[in-house]
């Protein structure tokens, strides 16, 4: 379709039967205007220019993020060596003695991210398999819409839910749970990313060709056998992409995590302790009044750059898998 249009447009381009230089007469006859294609009037060119310049905004956003994050991070790394940043096991930028080792923030982020995936991956995948194999019609549409409502709840509301409901409930049977803890944050982030995982994997499961399913049924397979041995394996790449996307959303999650997990950067892998994620550190600093030019201010951007690189990497991989997967299907 697009190609066909492109071709017609090329034909419309000013095709002058005579070279203007050879016949000056054509200009005097006033024919020149009618030879011009309507797509090259000033109004048309302006419209083209307008939509083209708008599309640059998204490119400028990416460039802006990279440039500004890097610029401030460079200032940070002039005072703190990259080696200390990557391998340091203490993070205490707001009090003396200052330490800038990102490992505690990384471990906090990973505890929450992996914990959330442990909850959301089985639930999301089973929901997706159920929706794509066992439901149809208005039931499927209805349940998908309810999942989307879950995705539409703002992050800060999940934070409220974690603080006022999940943590008190957990404390009734885990007595030594701290008020702020990684477990509660991981659970609430897990709930948040269920819709992401479910909807991306469901798309993948539903894209499995009907012939494959019917061949399996024809061999006498039962529904659960078709789902487990045909649909799931052939949609594996889409499922993996959904997990990566969910994980990248989990590590970028901010408000719920900083409310539920607290602000204690430590290397503890025990989820009953309070930890601090990269996003929660950024929130903690921005709550205080930090002036530009200080080491705290530029540390925001160093942490932000790390987070950006991690999520961008995860997203590029996931999108690549989805693209490849769609390409091989169609």
């Amino acid at each position: 379709m697009q190609m066909a249009l492109g071709k017609t447009r090329r034909v419309e381009q000013p095709v002058s039967p005579m070279e203007p230089s050879k016949s000056r007469k054509s200009r005097n006859l006033g024919l020149r205007r009618s030879w011009r294609s309507p797509s090259s009037t000033p109004l048309e060119s302006f419209a083209t220019f307008l939509v083209w310049s708008c599309s640059l905004v998204s490119v400028a956003t990416t460039i802006g993020i990279i440039v500004f994050l890097t610029r401030e991070a460079v200032e940070f790394f002039q005072q703190i060596s990259i080696w200390e940043f990557i391998t340091g096991t203490q993070w205490s930028p707001l009090w003396e003695p200052k330490h800038f080792g990102i490992l505690p923030l990384l471990s906090g982020t990973l505890v929450v991210g992996v914990g959330a995936c442990l909850i959301a991956v089985p639930i999301g995948a089973l929901s997706a398999l159920f929706l794509s194999e066992y439901t149809a019609g208005s039931w499927r549409v209805g349940m998908k819409s309810l999942l989307e409502v879950l995705a539409g709840v703002p992050s800060v509301v999940y934070g409220f839910f974690a603080v006022t409901f999940i943590t008190p409930q957990l404390r009734t049977f885990i007595p030594d749970l701290e008020v702020f803890n990684a477990l509660s944050a991981a659970i609430v982030v897990g709930i948040m990313i269920i819709p992401t995982i479910a909807s991306v994997s469901q798309d993948a499961f539903q894209a499995v060709p009907r012939e494959l399913r019917e061949a399996a049924y024809g061999l006498g397979a039962r529904k659960y056998q078709v789902a487990c041995t045909v649909v799931f394996p052939s949609a594996l790449s889409g499922f993996i992409a959904s997990v990566i996307l969910g994980f990248s959303r989990a590590i970028g999650e901010t408000m719920a995590v900083s409310l539920a997990a607290g602000a204690t950067p430590n290397m503890s892998w025990n989820p009953v302790h309070s930890i601090q994620t990269m996003t929660a550190y950024i929130v903690q600093v921005s709550l205080g009044d930090i002036s530009a030019g200080t080491i705290e201010y530029s540390s925001l951007f160093a942490v932000g750059l790390t987070l950006f690189a991690m999520t961008l990497g995860a997203n590029v991989v996931a999108n690549f898998i989805v693209q490849k997967f769609q390409g091989s299907r169609v």
């Binding site: 379709m1 697009q2 998204s58 500004f68 159920f130 539409g152 709840v153 800060v156 006022t164 961008l312």
Partner: protein
């Protein structure tokens, strides 16, 4: 066939056959119960605090006198400007990518990949960009304008992607007929494609704005304050929004403030869930129209 099967299968086989269905049902139920518990918790804690005085009062150190007037006004101001920036830019980018750009050129492909990846970047990274560029570099300060520009960048991918989907869904015959009678590209888009794609584009705008209403991380970085005892009067004023007010109150240890947060959440959810349901309803209606 099935009757033949059932006679032979053992109880264990039958359990195995049903266990996947059961697991699926329980997984979905878990998600829905979480949603229900969340709404229930918010409703029980916040309902009694909802009053005219609460909606029309300014924040206070005393829970009994606190209100969210400045947050409501701030949210409306912020959303207005966000819509002003993101809707035209988003729709026009979608039009460019779908109708103007040559689909095979590597630049177009790069822009498309770029937008898909922008959609996955954490909101707080946009906040860092807003802090470094809008607040510091072009000196907008901690204003509504800086917040709205940051929010616009955040929801732009949503608006662009749904515009592209909506344009793709327009029937080929309409396009061909319009070009066939000699319409220019601009005329085809303006008079034929956009009206046809309108419901889809509106869905995208609603989804984007409802995300922006609930988003608060970038605004914390921009410097939206949590204690604002005035109603903003212009785009360069300081501001607070509902989501930040909630965050501030949940952080405090006193339970009374948690109830205030719950009451504010009811107001916020009325906005976001209302808008989301509208978008979902529009989409279901559109799909039915196509069949």
């Amino acid at each position: 066939m099935s009757s033949f099967h059932h006679q032979k299968t053992s109880l264990f086989e039958r359990f195995k056959a049903e266990s996947l269905r059961l697991a699926g049902v329980f997984s979905l139920l878990f998600a829905f119960i979480c949603l229900f518990m969340l709404l229930y918790q918010v409703g029980v804690q916040g309902w009694q605090y909802l009053s005219w005085q609460f909606l029309n009062g300014f924040p206070s150190r005393f829970p009994a006198q606190a209100g969210i007037k400045s947050a409501i006004y701030g949210t409306i101001w912020l959303m207005g400007f966000t819509a002003l920036f993101s809707i035209p830019v988003g729709i026009m980018t979608g039009i460019y990518l779908e109708e103007y750009a040559s689909q095979k050129s590597w630049v177009t492909k790069l822009i498309r990949v770029n937008i898909a990846n922008l959609a996955g970047i954490p909101s707080i990274v946009y906040g860092l960009l807003g802090l470094a560029f809008f607040v510091r570099q072009i000196h907008l300060g901690r204003s509504i304008l800086a917040g709205a520009l940051t929010m616009s960048l955040l929801i732009l991918p949503i608006v662009i992607l749904t515009t592209i989907e909506a344009l793709k869904a327009v029937q080929v015959s309409i396009r061909l007929a319009a070009y066939g009678v000699g319409a220019t590209r601009r005329q085809v888009i303006l008079y034929h494609l956009l009206p046809e794609a309108f419901p889809g584009i509106v869905t995208g705008i609603i989804l984007g704005l409802s995300r922006a209403i609930g988003e608060s991380a970038p605004l914390l970085l921009i410097g939206a304050l949590s204690f604002v005892a005035f109603v903003p009067e212009g785009p360069l004023d300081g501001f607070t929004v509902l989501a930040i007010q909630i965050f501030d109150w949940v952080m405090r240890p006193q339970p009374a403030f948690h109830s205030l947060a719950a009451a504010t959440i009811i107001v916020l959810l009325a906005f976001t869930l209302g808008m989301n349901s509208l978008a979902i309803w529009l989409r279901i209606k559109m799909n039915r129209g196509k069949q």
